[in-house]
Amino acid sequence: MSERRRRPATYRQALKRAALSLVAMMPTVLGVVGLVGIFQVFITKEMLASLFTKEPIRDTVVGTLAGGIAVGNALVSYILGGKLLEQGVSLYAVTAFVLAWVTLGVVQLPLEAQMLGVRFTIARNLLALIFTMLTAILTVQTLGVLG
């Protein structure tokens, strides 16, 4: 049983232990935060928009992958998604893009793996990737049925 798992004698001791645990992971946090800055500045909205070809199936996959790479506030994905719709990109692709933006994160993978384990990270992200595409397809199909 790890030292962290043993119940601390006082709350103060627990607080110290929690703070030290966060301090220990700061190099990874700083690395991830550094990557977030790079992705936000070097991967522009125009670059992401240029990936779409207006072919629904291909664009749904592209939307999922592009959303998974992109970082930033979810609001940005709505604005960009709205623009993509205006440009004629399918709702399947835009839904996948908006959803992947908040559920997937290539940048945070190292930290997730370190904190929660490599296997958990692989399984969770693979499932999220598949379900993001499925959710996008089901959402648009349902809207079609509802008229």
Binding site: R7, V36, Y78
Partner: protein
């Protein structure tokens, strides 16, 4: 507790990447550094809350009682707590990793954790804006499917025994 830093090589690698990018475009690299600084401030604010929650988990919460509420056997209540917490949580996903790690160590099931993460796709404060951009029907249908997807992913995660092997012994 002995302090052992994790991810030093990764951080150095990102530092080197900044160095390389600065040679290519110093203005953009500076912008990236500024953006990172802003993100770091946001993370540190969340971390200050996470420290207190983590300490409380370690000190007050007994593993058996937490497993009862969020473990694999916690039933509908466990799913509702995980989904509700996901919908209500704010900030970047990675800011919540330390707290989630502590909860897993105290018995929270992988399925509930996965459901929590996926339910975070529902951003309550941004729902009016989603309605504005994509319409009310789209927002309602997508929100329902996100919750269903989160729950189904959780059910699948609970059935993948392979994951349990990388939990601490």
């Amino acid at each position: 507790m002995k302090l052992r830093f994790q991810g030093v090589k990764f951080m150095v690698g990102v530092g080197l990447l900044y160095g390389g990018l600065a040679l290519y475009d110093s203005d953009k690299t500076l912008q990236a550094l500024q953006k990172s600084g802003m993100v770091l401030m946001e993370i540190l604010a969340i971390f200050s809350v996470v420290v207190f929650i983590s300490a409380a988990i370690h000190y007050y919460i007994d593993s058996r009682s937490l497993a009862k509420h969020l473990g694999e056997e916690s039933g509908l209540k466990g799913w509702l707590i995980a989904l509700g917490a996901g919908v209500l949580s704010h900030g970047p996903m990675y800011a919540w990793y330390p707290m989630i790690r502590d909860l897993r160590e105290h018995g929270a099931g992988d399925g509930r954790v996965a459901a929590f993460f996926y339910a975070r796709a529902i951003k309550v404060p941004l729902l009016p804006i989603m309605v504005e951009y994509f319409g009310l029907a789209f927002t309602i249908v997508l929100t329902i499917y996100i919750l269903l997807s989160a729950w189904i992913q959780g059910l699948i995660m609970d059935r993948i025994d392979w994951i349990a092997e990388d939990r601490e012994p």
